[in-house]
Amino acid sequence: MLAKKLEINKKDENLSSKFNIVLIDQNEMLLDLLDHELTKHKGFSVIRTSNGVELLNKEDLEPDLILMDMIMEGVNGIELIKKIRSEDRFAKIKIIILSEKLNESIVEELKSLSVNDVIQKPANIGEVIFRVERSLKHQI
């Protein structure tokens, strides 16, 4: 991990290729668009799923950031974040919420679960990408 960070400090343009991002959303088209932007134009490595439980079941997966909706199959968004935070391998992972169902109390709850950023849908994709990059830069 340290070696990864040092390399990034040396050459910032290589930043993207060093990070794995997991996308969780039920809207296939939005997943397609985010996947396209993050991989083709920014060079991130992206894993996509419509179901958060799959993420927990993949033991070899070590993402750097999760960009997720609050609504998904099988589990509620808050429950999933709690489960993610309870696992050691995900303890320092960055989480960004991209959701329509947001209000003050949900945002407060998300903050208490150490969520790094919250974006209201419908969102400008340029802004989403910017916030993803910003969160990952803070990790360095």
């Binding site: 809207n27 296939e28 088209m29 939005l30 397609d32 668009l33 396209h36 932007e37 134009h41 209000n103 849908k121 419908p122 969102a123 400008n124 994709i125 340029g126 802004e127």
Partner: protein, 342 residues
């Protein structure tokens, strides 16, 4: 035996063909999705997308579907880029041609396209208005959606009133119309508030429909509505009109409770004596939300004196709030002790 075998072959064949078509459609959609995403970034990609569509006009609906799916999820500049693609003359002409078609399916497709780009060409406005009166509800509904999504603010109020009047048998279609209007970015919020006031004051709209309108409007979570809801509640209570308007009254009280509008406390307490279950329950819920001294006092009185279903409602609503629950039950015991003969 032979017929059975023939049918089995035919069924298998048709399933295989459907699977093949679905697979082909998926791969085409993926291809066009990538082209649409690239078109949002650079003009060259956009040119090649439309060149491809010129050669294969049958693929226009696929691009329209990709763009419509995206519009539901994206905003800001991304949304504008998607709308720009949809407004390209090649796509626009394709769907406007459908608007003049006698085929109703095509007409609806055209209307849904216009709803996506949130524009009605001036030449089609009168036709869109006449469709709101069409005997087929789905055509009227689609046409109303187009008008409500557009910037034609002089038409919104009359279309909403018309649709509220004609939707008595399928009230819940009004939910989509009101949300479309509320999400209309061309219209300032103040104008929308005035339009909703006109709907709630209109004599052409039934009381049941007005109750539904209040429930929908309160789901927009816009607290500015509370003052108007409060005025309506006062009007109904002061003029003793509640008997004819139970559902409307219950909806108004629920909305005021939801907005935590404590100014309405006195009127809501008065409403607890209205002889209607829905109104009483709405009032109890609002008082529990307010949690003021006066509201708790009223809840204690209701708990100690009224029917079982109200007691159950209070117990159920306060079960997550131990302090409030204890206050109401303990006070009820003390009220009973005072009343018991020595």
């Amino acid at each position: 035996m032979a017929i059975g075998a023939y049918l089995a072959v035919m069924v298998t064949l048709s399933r295989l063909l459907t699977l093949r078509d679905k697979k082909k459609y998926r791969s085409l959609k993926n291809k066009y999705s990538t082209l649409v995403f690239e078109s949002m970034r650079n003009n060259e990609a956009r040119e090649s997308l439309f060149e491809l569509l010129r050669v294969n006009p049958k693929h226009i609906p696929i691009v329209k579907e990709v763009c419509s799916d995206l519009l539901n999820e994206v905003g800001g500049e991304t949304k504008n880029s998607v709308i720009e693609i949809l407004e390209h003359p090649l796509i626009k002409d394709h769907y406007l041609k459908y608007f003049n078609s006698f085929n109703k399916k095509r007409k609806v497709k055209s209307l849904l396209y216009l709803r996506s780009i949130k524009t009605i060409p001036d030449s089609e406005v009168s036709r869109a208005i006449s469709l709101v009166d069409h005997r087929l509800h789905y055509l009227a509904h689609a046409s109303a959606l187009v008008i409500l999504a557009s910037a034609k603010d002089n038409l919104h109020e009359s279309v909403l009133i018309k649709m509220c009047k004609r939707s008595e048998d399928c009230k819940y279609t009004v939910v989509e119309l009101l949300w479309e209007y509320w999400d209309n970015e061309f219209i300032p919020k103040e104008e929308k508030l005035i339009c909703f006031q006109v709907l709630l004051g209109s004599e052409d709209i039934s009381v049941e429909m007005k109750a539904l309108l209040v429930r929908i409007i309160s789901s927009f979570n816009e607290k500015e509505f509370s003052i108007y809801f409060y005025d309506l509640l006062k009007f109904l209570i002061e003029l003793d009109l509640q008997k004819k308007h139970y559902s409307f009254l219950a909806a108004l009280i629920s909305a005021l409770g939801k907005f935590d509008f404590k100014t309405a406390e006195e009127e809501i307490i008065k409403a607890t004596s209205v002889d209607n279950k829905a109104v009483k329950i709405a009032a109890i819920r609002a008082l529990i939300k307010f949690k003021t001294t006066r509201a708790i006092q009223e809840l204690v009185t209701i708990y100690s004196t009224s029917k079982d279903y109200l007691k159950k409602e209070i117990s159920y609503l306060t079960e997550h709030d131990m302090d409030l629950s204890k206050t109401i039950v303990r006070s009820e015991v003390s009220v009973k002790n005072i009343n018991e003969p020595e």
